[in-house]
Point group: C2
Chain length 424, copies 2
């Protein structure tokens, strides 16, 4: 039985999952059409053929084409009380590959995006260290640097899906994830400079914004792969991503990646701050909460077609694409179903397969024009498999808004329009 | 003997290369300073600690911090007659890692940056094919897609260096290179759809801009790794990079990567267009010109320190960094000299090492405050080694403006200021 829910917050009842062939492979229909002598491609002269465009002095820092106005971050006004403690979403349906351009990386702040002067900014290390230290940005650049491509996912990504599908588009259901190349220094090198005392088992990371975001990081992770990063995709961090310096905690929930990082305190136990007790814990059906659920579980989503990106070219060849990721390492495989999980076929992962980075997958098919119930299911290198939402709720109930990695379903109608539905 | 040249076009005479110790390793001086109880890092409250920043509805497409105003593309007015047929330069000294953010990828147009409507744009294939075809952008997205990180270097990058150092900064001497992740389809798949006739040995690529840029691509390359790309770093191509579709010719000179791609003609011989005869050929000392010198030679440059990025933190720990690349594949090694090429030490390559992509290198050292003559020398996986400018001129003369991959020298004075100089 397939339960569909519409755009907004109300459900629209039920639809029987009677698939008339679904994604059965038809004969491959050609892309493109045969060129005729009077084809407009030959005969039409456009303004851009006729007149010169802008010169090289026009745009010191370039922006997207005016025809790409829809490729923007979007927020949902009713989701939070105030936009300064809120979220907006990466337009996953407008993107391809595994790199998110900096201007489209989703934002989540708890006190607005702090515009910090890098000349005045300091990073302090105190607590259980031999030598408390203060670093300028110049000082940080004197440690050996590393470059890594990592995804960052908010723990609340897909959070609305716990209680049934409510938002119609992968931008809203899965758009609290992005993936960039970070440049920075290893946290362990900075800790070594200060000298961690034997009793030091935890690191408190604190932000310089008005929310003074604080999270406890276990020392084992701090000494493993955490970075103190000052660049993303080659350039300085963006304001909304913690300029001039943020913590990078590979594979762990985004809230721990403290932005505008101003202080690292070494301690012997976790601090149990607001954002790791009343928030960012997973309330179970029995009233207890999962605590310190840091690693993001294996997950995937089909980005095209999807509710914001319907099929516009009709039957025949169809390239289905999406993203997969895991906080446990690389993604080993992604399977695709066009009939709501009854049958599965392997997708093709293309591009770099890097630990704790987004993976891009494609599934090339022939669409016969029948309705489909599209799903993707990822498996990571550790063998973890993405569960159905029902499996997830059976274990965790539906109280939480965090760590929902359930399989997503898009219903595609005979016109190619797609909708967020749930299969029960 | 070291010849120094100043900012602009005139040389400033000679300087004896007597190095007083140069880069001799001194004791490692600590980064950072010890925290005091009255440290401003503790006692000062900044506005960004006190007041909320912008909300998530403020910037649908984000831009860099207002403190990063210097990280912009720059053009040199005297270099060309008109900015619509000119170049601007990537600010390499402000970047790190191997990804160039889209807004900072250098521009080179011959008729300005064409703002093309993707709904009206068509890509035609004609000439020696079984079935001439026309594709819409939607059609192109129905071929299987690939994702690749490649550098793009203008053949004229470092062109001013043939006749002595004249521009004071790596942005100007080496900034006609960028590196992004492309998403698109393989040219060979499009050619297969049209069906190349046996006599078809070359492909003419033509742009839709007012310059109608045209270049001949050998069929062997076209059927190898060329892409017809519609995305860069995840999002749609930028206007100035050929939106909505460009050719990607990995490792080959940037001029062949035809932007605003509107036509592919298959032929039995090269077309000998303007941009492959009077331009983009290398005039030798004997009056003959090298023709079809497509692959970009192995090359590197130190981006920091450099004339636009002096050492500002004084003696002690110094992280020297730069970029290396080769049109022949990956970069196998980079060596660093601090004494103008007398002694060499290996640099550390960090991050992905991908064929025909930028490579980031670092060299961590202790600077004793003496003057230095910094050089980097790259070797690619095929064993090609970057030559000195003298070696290059001995073979090719100094008539050309293309394919200069000579070793670059920065003179660093005792204050940390750097200058473009030449060692003779």
């Amino acid at each position: 039985m397939v339960e569909r829910s519409g755009n907004g917050q109300s459900r629209r009842g039920f639809l029987k999952a009677g698939l008339a062939g679904g994604a059965a492979l038809a004969g491959s229909l050609a892309a493109g059409r045969v060129l005729a002598a009077d084809d407009p491609a030959i005969t039409q002269i456009q303004d851009w053929n006729r007149y010169s465009g802008d010169g090289v002095d026009a745009h010191p820092y370039g922006m997207p084409s005016p025809f790409e106005k829809d490729a923007v971050r979007r927020n949902v006004a009713w989701l939070t009380a105030d936009p300064v403690s809120s979220v907006n979403f990466t337009p996953l349906h407008k993107l391809d590959g595994i790199i998110t351009p900096n201007g489209l990386c989703f934002e989540r702040h708890h006190g607005g995006a702090a515009v910090v002067d890098p000349a005045k900014h300091r990073l302090m290390i105190n607590g259980l260290v031999e030598k408390p230290l203060v670093f300028t940005m110049d000082d940080l650049r004197r440690f050996p640097r590393v470059n890594k491509i990592y995804f960052l996912e908010c723990a609340a990504n897909s959070g609305m899906e716990w209680r049934g599908s409510q938002l119609n588009g992968c931008q809203f259901t899965h758009g609290m994830v992005h993936c960039v190349m970070y440049t920075g220094v290893l946290l362990k090198d900075i800790l070594a400079e200060a000298g961690v005392k034997p009793a030091g088992k935890w690191v408190l990371a604190e932000g310089a914004d008005s929310a003074a975001m604080t999270r406890s990081i276990p020392m084992e992770k701090a000494l493993d792969d955490c970075m103190v990063a000052f660049a993303m995709n080659g350039e300085a961090l963006r304001v909304e991503q913690g300029y001039p310096v943020r913590l990078v905690v590979p594979g762990f929930e985004g809230n721990m990646w403290v932005k505008w990082l101003r202080r690292l305190e070494v301690g012997d136990e976790p601090w149990e701050q607001r954002e790791e007790t009343s928030k960012y814990t997973d309330l179970l059906a029995n009233g207890k909460a999962r605590h310190f659920t840091w690693a993001m579980d294996v997950k995937s989503v089909i980005t095209n077609p999807s509710p914001q990106a319907p099929i516009t070219h009709g039957k025949g060849r169809l390239v289905l694409t999406g993203l997969a990721w895991s906080g446990n390492g690389t993604v080993a495989r992604v399977d695709i179903s066009t009939d709501g999980g009854r049958n599965w076929k392997p997708a093709r992962i293309d591009g770099p397969s890097l630990p704790m980075a987004l993976h891009r997958f494609y599934y090339e098919m022939d669409w016969d024009g029948s309705e489909m119930f599209l799903q993707s299911r990822a498996m990571d290198e550790k063998g973890f498999v993405q569960p159905t939402k029902q499996q997830l709720r059976a274990v965790r109930g539906a109280n939480s808004i965090y760590h929902n990695n359930g399989i997503q379903t898009w219903y595609v109608d005979t016109n190619g329009a797609a909708e967020n539905v749930e299969i029960s």
